[in-house]
């Protein structure tokens, strides 16, 4: 491939306009995940982030040095300010979900999320990190160009037509890249460990009492099944990191990945992690298929609500 063709492929991949509906659906799911994460944190907010929290700001700065985007380092150190930060953050997460002042909301959500995580890095799981890194690129995306209050207002004021204009998808591509990297990097980490290669890893995972959630059937705990599932995890993570970029594999892999994540959500207690990751799956769905699914869902609910009306 010569340089000109490479450049052409780059332009096509990052800049050829496409429907903003996938990124808009992602915005809604992402905002919902951030909102739910905050709600789950609410009762312990000051224990984790307050002035006299488990890890103080000064300790955090000493243990994790470096200049970081962290509003906690500039806001007055009082619990009332830190509580106010929670509510402001929650408001912007809701605004982002509904798509009001979308650009401002996406920036505010990212800055608040990054600050919160930098304030206490020791209580985070992969889902939190995924929200942070994808939130960075969401700031640059046309996330309010569809399915948003912003668009509804613009159409109402005749600033936009009824038809949704296509946009350059480069920010969406970066979020897709983050999802693929999550799986591929996870695969690389796992093949460095003997338990993943010899198939014993999931036995240990499923016997850590503190992360068990709902009971799993006894037959799934047989050693040979756990070995197969361990190796299946490796194959699936590699595929979701690499093969997902190839169209023929994409939808089967998304279905397998969805089942994989949901089974983890059932068996292991890692709150919101699976949902945080699943939000980005929508970016790999073709916009026309998304619209078709949306229409089908609307027709289904419309039909149900119509059929629920008693005939006089």
């Amino acid at each position: 491939m010569n340089l000109a063709r490479l450049r052409e492929a780059w332009e096509r991949f990052f800049f050829t306009p496409q429907s903003p509906i996938p990124i808009a659906v992602f915005r809604i799911l992402y905002g919902t995940c951030v909102t739910l994460t905050l709600i789950l944190l609410h009762s312990e907010w000051l224990d984790w982030f307050g002035v006299h929290s488990w890890v103080t700001l000064s300790t955090m700065s000493r243990v994790e040095p470096g200049v970081r985007l962290n509003l906690f380092t500039v806001m007055p150190q009082s619990d009332s300010w830190i509580s106010a930060f929670f509510w402001i953050f929650l408001c912007f997460a809701i605004l982002l979900t509904i798509g009001l002042w979308t650009r401002l909301s996406s920036i505010a959500v990212f800055v608040c999320l990054a600050s919160m995580q930098q304030r206490n890095l020791y209580i985070l799981h992969g889902g939190d990190v995924f929200l942070r890194v994808t939130g960075f690129f969401l700031m640059f995306a046309p996330a309010g160009a569809a399915l948003s209050v912003d668009r509804w207002i613009r159409v109402g004021r005749k600033l936009e037509g009824e038809t949704i204009e296509p946009r350059a998808p480069w920010a969406q591509r970066m979020i897709q890249f983050e999802l693929a990297l999550l799986y591929f990097s996870s695969f690389l980490w796992k093949i460095k460990g003997a338990p993943w290669l010899n198939g014993t890893a999931l036995f240990y995972v499923f016997h850590i009492h503190a992360i068990q959630r709902f009971p799993v059937p006894d037959w799934t705990q047989q050693l040979w099944i756990l070995k197969l599932v361990t190796w299946y995890t490796l194959v699936l993570e590699f595929s979701l990191g690499v093969l997902i970029w190839f169209r023929p594999f994409r939808y089967p892999l998304l279905v397998l990945g969805l089942l994989f994540q949901l089974s983890i959500e059932y068996a292991l207690n890692i709150p919101m992690f699976e949902w945080d990751v699943l939000t980005a799956y929508v970016l790999f769905v073709d916009p026309t298929d998304l619209q078709r699914m949306g229409r089908a869902a609307r027709d289904f609910f419309f039909w149900r609500s119509r059929s629920a009306v008693p005939v006089s």
């Binding site: 985007l69 160009a145 996870s186 207690n269």
Partner: protein
């Protein structure tokens, strides 16, 4: 209605040209076509791709470690640092939990139990899972710098105006997971004391 086909196989419907109120700026779809803007964005994309890959790919292959050192300040500042090492390279082959015991001025002891997920109901364990992660970190001596803060926090939680705590001891309980052994007798593991803190008067304010 006319239709255009974009590179990603989807078909995007475009309306016939119509007059719309202008907000004084060109439409983003048109603005995106400017070569200069594409160039700037391309540099931004390329920089981020290289920086993120150098950080997240767990390979010590030249030049990844060198690039990682160069981009470290940017990734730390922007919050783009990331590691996807779920249960890897080796899942922890132990069950563990931690407790804190405070010794009071009048020689009584008070115990703070960090929430243990396996003893909580489904709703509680979903809400309080952060404690499991935090306890896992605390068991690691690499994070010994956190122990004084934790001890002070425990001292405040267990404080009493009539009999304040004077010492706080952090201890962990670990039992190994034996491969192939699915049911083991529920014996309480021996405690391992890993930190002792002498509480000062200012710690309780």
């Amino acid at each position: 209605m006319s239709k255009i086909s974009s590179h990603s196989d989807e078909t995007v419907e475009l309306s016939k040209p119509r007059r719309l109120k202008s907000r004084g700026s060109s439409h983003p779809a048109n603005a995106d076509n400017s070569g200069f803007r594409h160039g700037v964005i391309s540099i931004f994309i390329l920089f981020n791709l290289v920086a993120i890959l150098s950080w997240a790919i767990p390979l010590q292959v030249t030049p990844l470690p060198q690039i990682k050192e160069i981009v470290r300040p940017y990734l730390l500042w922007a919050g783009l640092f990331q590691s996807w090492d779920f249960f890897a390279p080796n899942p922890r082959p132990v069950n563990s939990y931690i407790e804190a015991v405070a010794g009071t001025r009048d020689h009584y002891t008070r115990v703070f139990n960090f929430p243990r997920m396996e003893q909580l109901n489904y709703g509680q364990r979903y809400r309080e899972e952060r404690y499991r992660k935090f306890a896992e970190v605390l068991c690691d001596s690499q994070y010994a710098a956190l122990w004084p803060d934790v001890a002070r926090h425990v001292a405040r939680l267990l404080d009493s105006s009539t009999d304040p705590p004077q010492t706080v001891v952090l201890m962990k309980f670990e039992s190994p997971i034996q491969y192939g052994v699915t049911r083991i007798p529920e014996a309480t593991p021996k405690p391992q004391f890993f930190y002792e803190y002498y509480v000062g008067g200012e710690d309780l304010r």
